[in-house]
């Protein structure tokens, strides 16, 4: 297991958001977590990124290392866990280039950085065209590309994607997912994606989990989940 999560519990004040969920992801996998709004999907990712504190009793390891011992920025820079947050959270006042550069803040290999930049531009040629444009002025699809590109720059052992389809037209959505699949194939990057758009996510991933009210209720191969009547009823609109 590359990433293993056991009994993850998170609370916001008195409200318990995650009631002890456990799952694991192997190297090179694409895994998705689907669930309704408020089920705790984003919280799961935030807990892995250490943005929200996990309750005692939680165990999380990444490549055999105890995740709980890492600060949020070290999770990215030392372990190579990159996180594309919900709503993308680009730095709108920075240019595209600066956004990409910032993601390499802790990296000390200028050569590697230059190579990675080339690769990002190869995957998303649009970004190259807009290199010096302020990120805030780009279209939604371009912003999503930049968000993925940024994650690519900061660390590529595993990418955590939070609702990448949000606010995108279906066609754009597809192209974004395609390019991520490309990254997964060429770079061997493991991908964990959480989505409300269950169909898209399950088509894209190899395995999937269903999260409901802070608990994992179902898991399995994505194609079997797609066929699961319960999933169909609740998440696939029939």
């Amino acid at each position: 297991m590359l990433l293993s999560v056991e009994n993850l519990q998170v609370s916001y004040g008195n409200i318990k958001a995650l009631h002890g969920i456990s799952f694991g992801i192997g190297e090179g996998e694409i895994v998705c977590i689907i669930g309704a709004n408020g089920a705790g999907k984003s919280t799961t990712l935030r807990a892995i990124s250490r943005l929200v504190p996990a309750q005692p009793g939680t165990r999380m390891t990444f490549m055999g290392k105890d995740l709980l011992k890492y600060e949020p920025d070290k999770v990215v820079s030392d372990l190579g866990i990159s996180h594309v947050p919900e709503g993308r959270r680009l730095f709108g006042n920075l240019t595209v280039m600066e956004n990409l550069r910032l993601a390499t803040f802790a990296r000390k290999d200028p050569k590697g950085i230059a190579e990675d930049l080339e690769r990002v531009f190869a995957i998303f040629p649009r970004l190259k065209e807009r290199e010096n444009q302020k990120a805030g002025t780009m279209s939604g699809g371009e912003q999503q590309m930049l968000a993925v590109g940024r994650a690519f720059m900061s660390g590529r052992k595993i990418m955590l994607l939070d609702e990448p389809s949000m606010g995108l037209a279906p066609l754009l959505m597809k192209s974004v997912f395609d390019s991520m699949k490309e990254i997964n194939r060429t770079e061997g990057t493991t991908i964990l994606v959480v989505e409300q758009n269950a169909r898209m996510a399950l088509q894209f991933s190899g395995r999937g989990y269903v999260l409901e009210n802070g608990r994992l209720v179902l898991e399995g191969r994505s194609d079997s989940l797609l066929a699961d009547p319960l999933v169909k009823k609740a998440y696939l609109g029939g």
Partner: protein, 307 residues
């Protein structure tokens, strides 16, 4: 005309203090959205450290250990004091602000206010009530240019403060640390996801802001060589006005607003009876904000960024 020019020169000097202090204020404010009410007192601490350092260097030269001219002592004083004061700023951040990172912003502001009082009182306890005069490292030379009087100190002060502003601007624009600061002022939460060590960036911000305040303190000591423990209070509050007036996250804005505040105070005193100076100067600021409610360079931001 000569009077006007003379006042212009005067206000340039006066404004450069507001600008330098406002810069530090503004940097912290744009990243943490925090009113660093201790900043005025860090300016005071910087000035006192400057006195200490310059006396130390003077003692070294007079005892023959160091052989450097006075202007070099001044340069070294500024650099060493900036360096030392930056640690004061970082300590203040570590002790007073970091534990309150997730608290309401106003609570942190109150902590800052209290740290300021502690710094003032601490100074009073350590050094006693006497006022300290800044050693005159360079002789004042007065030049009369067509009825406008300039001094070498005035020129130096304006030049150094502009230089520092420019340097800071370049730092913010060109370096990755500056980039991280700008990113933080846009979206604080997303920054650690880039692998940026947030706490280090914040500490650096406080350090740089405090170093600028120290520079301002020393320049202040050169221009107005009377230091007392409470010298930073009013300055702090006025720089606070300038920093916010300049607009969030804008180095240029803070600098301009600092100079503008200096201009307003001086020119109001020139045109109107000087007894009414504060009345008119702050009425102008009030009017500016009534009609331009987001400062000069700031953008209207969402109502959720609140105190």
């Amino acid at each position: 005309m000569a009077i006007f020019l003379q006042n212009l020169v005067n206000s340039l000097q006066w404004g450069s203090f507001y600008a330098l202090i406002a810069l530090g204020y503004s940097m912290v404010y744009s990243i943490l959205m925090l009113f660093n009410f201790a900043h005025g007192d860090i300016f005071m601490v910087g000035a006192y450290i400057g006195v200490g350092v310059s006396f130390g260097l003077l003692a070294l030269t007079s005892s023959g250990i160091l052989a450097i001219p006075n202007w070099l002592i001044l340069v070294m004083t500024i650099l060493i004091s900036m360096f030392l004061t930056s640690f004061v700023g970082m300590i203040v951040e570590r002790v007073g602000y970091r534990p309150l990172r997730n608290a309401p912003r106003a609570s942190a502001a109150i902590t800052g206010l209290m740290i300021g009082i502690i710094l003032e009182t601490g100074n009073l306890i350590l050094l006693g009530a006497r006022r300290i005069s800044f050693p005159s490292l360079i002789e004042t030379a007065t030049y009369d240019i067509g009825g406008v009087f300039l001094t070498n100190k005035k020129i130096m002060i304006v030049a150094v403060s502009l230089l520092l502003t420019l340097a800071l601007h370049q730092f913010i624009r060109r370096t990755k640390w500056g980039m991280a600061m700008r990113a933080m002022s846009f979206d604080f939460v997303a920054v650690p996801l880039m692998g940026v060590p947030v706490n280090k960036v914040i500490a650096l911000t406080f350090g740089i802001g405090s170093a600028l305040a120290a520079a301002a303190g020393i320049l202040f000591g050169i221009a107005y060589p009377v230091l007392d423990p409470y010298m930073g209070v009013l300055f702090g509050w006025k720089a606070f006005v300038a920093a916010i007036l300049g607009g969030r996250g804008s180095i240029l804005g803070a600098t301009l607003a600092g100079f503008l505040l200096g201009f307003t105070e001086i020119f109001v005193a020139m045109i109107f009876p000087s007894t009414l100076r504060d009345l008119i100067a702050y009425s102008i600021i009030l009017l500016i904000l009534t009609f331009r409610p987001h400062g000069f360079f700031g953008e209207p931001y969402s109502a959720q960024l609140r105190l």
